[in-house]
Symmetry: D2
Subunit: 434 residues, 4 copies
């Protein structure tokens, strides 16, 4: 038992009126809504990297956090794991997520990395059993090391492609061994800095092949979790290939992967791509590729990836509303890919940030449930399109030709009158529940 | 002969050192580069709407232009056409583009619109023959009239869908009759204002069916031009379905249209979507759906569609470089979907804006040709990927598995060393030619 | 009595649990918090232009609203006024705001405009007395007419400057006569489209003189309302001179107006300028120039001025928190410079939009009051700076030199240790109250 | 002599047609335009931090550059200085700029830092004499160390204020000793992350006092360079106090500093603030506070500070045009606050980037000179405002009242007619020269 969180008791649910800053006011894990416990709806996960590996740096300044486990030895990596599971226990956190580089020190090349990873997987596996926290997803960090500076799968050097592929294999093995519910790929360096040195068609072919290898391997080893791609439009590269949900869909279709891979959608990445979070979720649902979410927000006035804990209830409500309409999470969940502000130095900040984020989400989920159970919004939506529910309209949609349409328009004749879209009234309805 | 352009002589090429503001300094239509006349490379087109129909309004102010043809009669529509062809003659413009609503007055419903359109098509057809200007593309305005406020193909009211389809038929007929090289669809209202009243899956199905009807009709009537979709991320709607090239590709793939429809890419729309113009062109080329361009820029400090004439040579050069690498235009061309600033009241402004835009493009094309003929950039690009050109690498790309990659990495062992991406050196090379 | 709002009863307060879409759930005008009635805290105003004059157009489409008062006669202007006051009565709205161009038809030049304005002022004055609605502010529309296309006060033509000045005089007279609490200037065309034809120094001098004339006239006629400038960074011009609060402060200081003029801050304009709404309010307060607010939001994914009704409670709470910390409104208030979405065609939409907006604000104000009365946030803020509250620190702030600082740092020696900024914990506190 | 740049010869001017990638094509230092040598017009400076101290990291990846001088000893700091002056010699660079933290290793607290700084100042002073490169400006890095995480002058802890002040003193001493032409302050952490823990009025007072101490000290020690503030809107903080030129002007005015401090304007920061570079220069000129420039561009599609070498000639031309209209640089100059892309690993990349940037600037300056000498633009600008050059107009500007304006408008009567703003024609003129 480390003393990092000394004095901080396990977080309890104390109800909405409590003023205890280290209690849940909305997240009561066992509360049942729509037939499921809140914990099973929300499936919260802590992100190892931001919470335990990030030193507090930004492009204009270095480390602000001074954690006793910072350093590059196996011993420190184990101390980090100890503290991590202490935090999971304090929060009652059901899941966590990791990159290989978060949990193991950098080794001597591929063999060293793999040995370190395997040792840490065993160490963590034992802790998981003891504490009861599960793995939402694992992933490989293919963007921090300088070998990946020009891409991993999309590198102009086939050796990097091979190195990345081998590394993904070890991370899939680790995820499989730890019983992960999903495996995620975020293409941090899969993109370009300048078109002047880039061959888009080649890099697309490389990335398509790489993802197919991942899917084939998944089936070969019997991993029954979901493979997820996390879209992001830019940062670190000028242009990332997995720009947004629509772009990823096109990529999957192009490489025959649309039934094999789903998306892990991050609020901040949606914003950077010019979309609302709920747009990306709704679109993924409509396209049949919704998987999981990274529930961290971007600052609307900043043009980079700020990865903040969520704090705006009404916005989060709209996200869970789309998720519930999609049937809720299956293998996916709510990962806090969120980092403390670099001035939030205290261990208590780390706990409070998660407590606040979990509470915002729990309240939002309950609001979304209430909106669904009330039913007004969905009834009005259905009514708006009800003209399409006649046999004539279905025929129009399925068999019409331009000539046939012209005939109808001339003969009836059709002179369509617009009807109110009622946007403000719908927004008012939402505000009854948030 | 109207007297609108009184005193303005046909524009002549006078060479790069000329100071005559109404002469071409770079656009010499008959100059041959890479085996083609400049006119045949660039395929310039005037946009009827901005040049002749737009009154100079913006969201905070009304009409500033006072054109003798403003009004809603057939007589004025013909005067407008007269002036348009006078301008084409002055500029030596090889092509123009139009929406139905630009060339005909609004009629009494569908029948009235169609009758007006047909009369104007005959009138314009005669002028085309006389002046020698051809039609780059026609299109239907499915966004200005209030009946389309909630979408055309994606409207919740099937009557609007039918009305839009019938209208597109009349516009395809008009385009076919006038020998148009392409037919364009820009989904001005195909998108949403709020997800709260929108069913993305339904609207996607409607739009997919609509586009299939267009393609089927094209084949039925023997129109051998290209069907083009013009991507735009937003404006007028909060979110347009044809967001960008990648999104359109996914849409085409989803509805089996990827071999039937290509894209018309506008610089300003690329910018609004968070991309560079050259990115969108290069991506469309890589995906096999590059068609045509709207060569009008957006102001980088404004967040809306400013539709300005191009004036930045180096940027335009990068666009034509990608187009030339794609083999140049086939049916497509360079449309100036550009409007005068609303303070540019004089007839001379209209001429000068086109002259300046055409000159910027002509110079840029010649710079792009020089870059290609020099060959350094393409040689360096090829060298950067040359590691992929061995048999081993090709095998890696085509047949490898994660296990196989791991084996290679362990056995050789592979420890890839990064190589310079040379971005600044490549940018310097470009600057030798612009 | 027109029948425009037929069937819509005056809106009543029915408490937070009500499901009646046309009732207030949070706005109970007579409820007292912090010693003032809600009505007197919030000082709501309807904007005449968006609610009654805007036809529903945007840059890609024309009129969608069909209001019986649309047209250009005095009779229709009076019908418009009748309906406006019917709405004020339904809403129990304490204030309204207007431009001259909203309430009178365009006349024949200046004399005609003035005559129309004066007649309408009398008509409206009588209605104000009857209904009890007061004038929050009046203003002149110096941006819609083509004469202002290149600026009003900053026009290169001195005749436009004179015309604008004369027009402002008539609008100040009207505002004074109607007992307005403020007079606002928003420089819709005071900015530039291109630096190439602009002389910044000249235009600044013109604008400075113009504002001084306004202030001098105010004192001459004994108008004791506040003169307000409304900052906006761009749209309609590429660059507006009244960019944001900080820019306006510099302008006021430069022209000796910092004690005479305050700011009317609009959420949407704050966003366009890259700031949060609460930033602009807090900054104006710190600079001593906070006056009033336009409570309409911009869509975060759109780059233009969307002028939507507010609907995000937590965000609005932060705005009122800053206002309350500044002592609350004096002459200022909460103006809904908000327009319906152009698809919101029904009279009920207009009522519901205001009801929803007023409710969001009322709830937010009460949340802000609770945060202040709780006191935790302000206590923590004060503690954070408490090191500055010693005599030594005050001396440091008031009299220190660099040499003296160096001495202190060397002698003690000083090696400052950072303390947590607690951002997430503070955000959690806010979430207890919203 | 290190061997870092082995094989790279001093860069020579070889004229615009040369294909030698390591020759100047436009920058001929001794060429005279408008009565001054190019070197004296442009006053180029290398930035020590980006060129020699930056390791190639970004928020998603670590060091890519492997420089022999990386490390934290005085010996390595001297090797770094050796290589720096070798580069200055190769480029024929007249100036450089530095932060204390660039040139000395971090010491043990203030005393250690100062001792290291002083030793390096002597070392560098000797090199300056030998090579002939001068100091454009020095500055203190008050943003990288964790002690500054919550601000330097604006820190809630007065000890940090004192530490920062003492540090600035040592850096001003260093700059003075090395004959620097300016001293710059960029407030990297002078801003806030959240308003919830921030007191704007207190922090403004602190910053105002701090800047006054700097100015007082400057006079005390007889430093006759210019004190410069470098505006930036955000990054690293959410909101920086020195947002843009207009904001800095207001700050200077508020604290009585408008005659003492000028601005150092960076293209990338102008872009982040929503302005064009030329806007910020023209505004600073109009306000009398133009000082110097950081000539590095931001990527238009990225929302963070990319600090790239300039490469767009027409854009750079507009910047120098404004500088020349302001009379050119006095103490200021053209600093390349630009970093290589992190994939540009080779020593040759560092040289080529500067060569390319200098060439773009030299060509742009010559284009700007040609535009000024041609005179058409300035003649047209003057004509546009010529209405203001009559006695009547001057009287209007200086003595008019609203009443007087109304009288004029009624009596003449005035009905102003708009005149074309000619934007496209002006843009065409610019394109004759770039
Ligand atoms: Co992120
Ligand atoms: Co993420
Ligand atoms: Co456009
Ligand atoms: Co277009
Ligand atoms: Co607005
Ligand atoms: Co407003
Ligand atoms: Co910068
Ligand atoms: Co800089």
């Amino acid at each position: 038992m480390s003393d990092f969180f000394k004095g901080i008791e396990p977080i309890r649910y104390e109800g909405p009126d409590g003023a205890n800053p280290l209690a849940y006011r909305h997240y009561n894990a066992d509360e049942v809504v729509m037939g499921k416990r809140l914990e099973d709806h929300l499936r919260f996960a802590v992100a190892w990297w931001h919470s335990f590996a990030w030193p507090g740096g930004d492009p204009f300044g270095g480390q602000t956090f001074e954690r006793p486990w910072f350093g590059d030895t196996m011993e420190l990596a184990k101390l980090k794991a100890d503290v991590a599971f202490e935090m999971f226990a304090i929060l009652g956190q059901p899941f966590f997520c990791f990159h290989d580089a978060d949990i193991r020190p950098e080794g001597d090349g591929f063999a060293g990395n793999t040995a370190n990873l395997e040792e840490m997987v065993d160490y963590i596996g034992a802790k998981m059993e003891a504490v009861g926290t599960k793995l939402l997803w694992g992933t490989a960090n293919l963007f921090s090391h300088r070998r990946y500076m020009a891409g991993a799968a999309t590198n102009p050097d086939p050796d990097v492609f091979a190195f990345a592929a081998a590394t993904v294999k070890t991370c899939m093995d680790a995820t499989h061994k730890l019983g992960g519910a999903n495996y995620v790929l975020w293409g941090g360096r899969e993109g370009y800095e300048t078109l002047l040195n880039t061959d888009l068609a080649r890099e697309d072919a490389q990335l398509g092949r790489f993802m197919n290898m991942v899917v084939e391997y998944k089936h070969r080893i019997g991993f029954d979790g979901t493979i997820l791609i996390e879209p992001k439009p830019q940062e670190p590269t000028k242009h990332q290939y997995d720009y947004d949900v629509a772009t990823v869909f096109g990529f999957l279709k192009r490489h025959g992967l649309e039934d094999e891979i789903k998306v892990n959608i991050e609020q901040g990445h949606a914003i950077l791509a010019g979309h609302s979070f709920e747009h990306e979720i709704a679109l993924a649902t409509a396209l049949g590729i919704f998987g999981s979410i990274d529930m961290n927000r971007n600052d609307y006035q900043s043009g980079w990836d700020t990865d903040q804990f969520p704090n705006n209830g009404p916005e989060v409500t709209l996200a869970y509303y789309e998720i519930l309409k999609a049937g809720g999470f299956t293998t996916g969940g709510t990962n806090f890919d969120a980092k403390l502000r670099r001035q939030s130095l205290d261990p208590e900040d780390l706990i409070a940030a998660h407590v606040g984020g979990m509470d915002v989400c729990a309240k939002a989920l309950k609001s979304a449930v209430a909106m669904l159970e009330d039913g007004t919004l969905e009834r009005l939506r259905a009514e708006r399109y009800s003209g399409w529910d006649t046999d004539d309209s279905r025929a129009l949609l399925n068999h019409a030709t331009l000539e046939h349409c012209e005939e109808c328009v001339r003969d009836r004749p059709i002179d369509p009158q617009p009807r109110s879209g009622r946007q403000e009234r719908l927004e008012n309805i939402v505000n009854r529940f948030v």
